[in-house]
């Protein structure tokens, strides 16, 4: 369970990533920017799972890349145990990366087809020799295979000899190799079959208990995120629109986008079909290169008023719930944040 009284292990402050849009070949002029991530802040505590949900294009994968320093942030800070890692490079960056590892979405493309499983899982030791086990590296790799529920005899096989779920286990074993403190999981189960998803989720929970890992769990499947997360953040068009405990987000959402998102999830219960009210949003997500003024959700929001176009709502506890000691009182970036009754959801 998360221990929120402790120091956060990872703190993200006002993180921004703009991808420049350029024109011309020789003299490249910047004509605009895709605002993939625009001023996002959140914290991750030791042993906690923070889920991040949102639709495609909302910037959740960019957040993952920024935390891994695979992309350079335009501005903002990523504090790992109080130290800003977003501007590190060279040896210092490498040292930090030992403690932050990643599990990727697609187990078919994230494993090198020409390397054996042993090489793939052992590669982190070549990059970080100081973390490599003394003596027999193979033994450690076998141990890792065993930890993720694969037969240690498979060490000399190639990725194509495994099914999707098994490959994802290999990816997880590689992530675990260096005993990291944080694992960033970008849609770790969305490429897997339904019956295999549950196996991988169970494995991830088991590993968290065993090694005291902190997860940043990025996914679009809301029911899986609820199952695994202690806290959940909802992103829309590069902004965090609502963040809080899993009960706060799923049972007491106050942001209209979260409410619409939850109501759109089809329930695996045919009896609920008739009774429930669904909010069907109109239109598509606007382009992040030219986001709407004020609140970014206002173009699709049924509550939008003039104020929403002029004033950007801040991510804070809504005034009407300020001081309330319930799950309703959590951060929500809406001028008219209000709990909606009867939002049926997963």
């Amino acid at each position: 369970m998360a221990d929120t009284t402790r120091e956060p292990i990872l703190e993200v402050r006002n993180l921004v990533k703009h991808f420049p849009l350029t024109q011309g070949i020789v003299f490249r002029r910047q004509v605009g920017a895709v605002r993939a991530v625009d001023d996002i802040s959140f914290t991750l505590y030791p042993g906690e799972t923070l889920g991040i949900v949102g639709e495609s294009g909302c910037g959740k994968s960019t957040v993952a890349k920024l935390l891994m320093n695979l992309e350079r942030a335009t501005s903002g800070e990523v504090l790992y145990k109080g130290e800003d890692i977003s501007k590190l490079s060279g040896r210092a960056l490498k040292a930090v990366r030992r403690n932050i590892q990643m599990v990727f979405q697609d187990p078919y493309t994230s494993l090198n087809p020409r390397m054996t499983v042993g090489d793939i899982i052992g590669e982190p030791f070549d990059i970080h020799p100081e973390a490599a086990p003394k003596g027999d590296k193979q033994a450690r790799v076998r141990e890792l295979l065993d930890v993720v529920g694969l037969n240690p005899e498979y060490i000399n096989r190639y990725p194509h000899q495994f099914s999707g779920g098994q490959r994802q286990r290999i990816g997880i074993a590689r992530g675990l190799a260096l005993n990291p403190e944080i694992i960033i999981c970008d849609e770790p189960v969305s490429a897997l079959d339904v019956s295999v998803q549950a196996q991988v989720i169970n494995l991830m929970e088991k590993l968290q208990d065993e090694f005291g890992l902190s997860y940043l769990f990025i996914a679009h499947d809301l029911s899986i995120v609820r199952h695994i997360s202690d806290r959940v953040g909802v992103m829309y068009l590069g902004k965090m629109v609502e963040i809080g405990s899993d009960a706060a987000i799923y049972d007491h959402p106050t942001h209209p986008y979260t409410q619409a998102l939850l109501s759109a999830v089809p329930l695996p219960d045919p009896d609920a079909r008739e009774g429930r009210e669904r909010i069907i949003l109109t239109g598509d997500v606007p382009s992040p290169a030219n986001p709407p003024s004020g609140c970014r959700f206002r173009t699709r929001c049924w509550k939008a008023e003039e104020r929403c176009a002029e004033e950007m709502p801040l991510l804070a506890v809504p005034q009407r719930y300020a001081g309330a000691d319930t799950a309703v009182a959590h951060d929500s970036a809406c001028h008219f944040a209000e709990e909606k009754q009867h939002v049926a959801h997963a």
């Binding site: 639709e55 929970e205 609820r226 199952h227 695996p268 045919p270 609920a272 598509d284 997500v285």
Partner: protein, 365 residues
């Protein structure tokens, strides 16, 4: 069987010849769809759900594929006996298909208006101008805003949800009696998925079309389907009306799928997971193909391939108050069922020797 029966697939068998040997993708699949009804075909990758759809549409790649047995009755006619030209006349005006990935299913170098109009030009002999006019109407019908301005746009200029609407428009163009939707919303976000499924349901009601919805999403199925056929390793393992299936699944595989959905009361605990992996179709296990993963597997499952048993309320049901005597009678029934009762296509059925226990356990829970 009803007079409304639009499509009936009987004991369909399909094989693929591959380098590693012959893969039996379908081993006797049977299902039926009535007019105005939605049949959901549920299964994991490799279970044969898409192959069945392709065989019905007549777009199966042959070779390497080969239909080795069975029949596909569409409005009373066996499609497998028809020639290529006759099949072509059915595809479009009578049945149409919506594919999963709209971007790769549309031609990137032709405008969407041209591609939509193609249906009218080819099948109805419309002129180019007429066809474009009809394309605009279609785009309006699937609620694409500013259809007249966008009719000459290319597929890449539309968002994912809009592209899927164009696919739906194309399938609807000639107002077919049957639509096969192969994972129509898998590539879409939930809010867009809700829009698209809503639209599909409206149009289906309007035209009273039969709809075969191929999916692996148990939520979408619960929301839209009337009946469900669950596939595993090239067979139908369970066939049931949607509410009965969710209330009390009669096959351990269906039960496993339903149990592996994360539920609120399991928060923090273990998710139920079906152990093992889906079988390799080159080496399907003997007996029941699900037995290596099945918690109920017994000796008989390892040797006898279970046929589809008719699941009747009479034999199952009332388990809670069953006396020893009634249980005995039920057992006798079961023995009787084993030999005598072959379920009709579309009747509730389960391909498990021990379906009765499975249903009763589910009811008790």
């Amino acid at each position: 069987m009803t007079d409304d029966r639009l499509l009936e697939v009987r004991d369909l068998e399909v094989e693929f010849t591959t380098r590693d040997g012959v893969v039996r993708a379908l081993n006797g699949v049977s299902y039926g769809v009535d007019a105005g009804e939605t049949l959901a075909v549920l299964g994991e990758s490799g279970s044969g759900k898409s192959v069945t759809a392709q065989a019905i549409m007549g777009i199966l790649d042959m070779p390497p594929g080969r239909i080795t047995g069975g029949e596909i009755l569409f409005q009373g006619r066996d499609l497998l006996g028809l020639g290529a030209e006759e099949r072509r006349k059915i595809r479009g005006p009578k049945m149409a298909m919506i594919f999963q990935d709209a971007l790769s299913s549309l031609n990137p170098v032709l405008s969407v208006g041209f591609q939509l109009g193609e249906m009218f030009r080819v099948h109805r002999g419309a002129s180019r101008k007429e066809a474009k006019e009809r394309a605009v109407e279609l785009m309006e019908r699937v609620r694409i805003p500013a259809a007249r301005q966008r009719v000459n746009d290319y597929p890449h200029e539309f968002s994912g949800g809009m592209r899927q609407r164009i696919m739906i428009a194309m399938a609807l163009a000639l107002e077919p009696d049957l639509i096969i939707a192969d994972e129509p919303t898998t590539a879409l976000d939930v809010t867009v998925q809700a829009q698209v499924m809503d639209l599909l349901a409206d149009l289906q009601r309007e035209y009273r079309m039969g709809l075969i919805l191929i999916t692996h999403d148990l939520g979408v199925v619960a929301d839209t389907a009337d009946r469900i056929a669950v596939m595993y390793a090239g067979r139908i393992v369970e066939n049931a009306p949607v509410k009965e299936l969710y209330a009390a699944p009669a096959h351990p595989y269906t039960k496993g799928l339903l149990d592996s959905i994360p539920r609120l009361d399991q928060k923090g605990g273990q998710l139920y997971a079906i152990s093992g992996l889906p079988p390799n179709l080159l080496h399907v296990p003997d007996g029941c193909p699900f037995h290596p993963r099945c918690p109920r597997a017994r000796d008989r499952c390892r040797t006898d391939l279970p046929p589809l048993y008719a699941v009747s309320e009479r034999a199952a049901g009332g388990a809670a108050d069953a006396t020893a005597e009634a249980a005995e009678a039920a057992a006798a029934d079961a023995a009787h069922d084993d030999i005598a009762r072959v379920p009709e296509v579309g009747e509730r059925s389960s391909a498990c020797h021990y379906w009765k226990e499975t249903v009763d356990d589910a009811r008790r829970a």
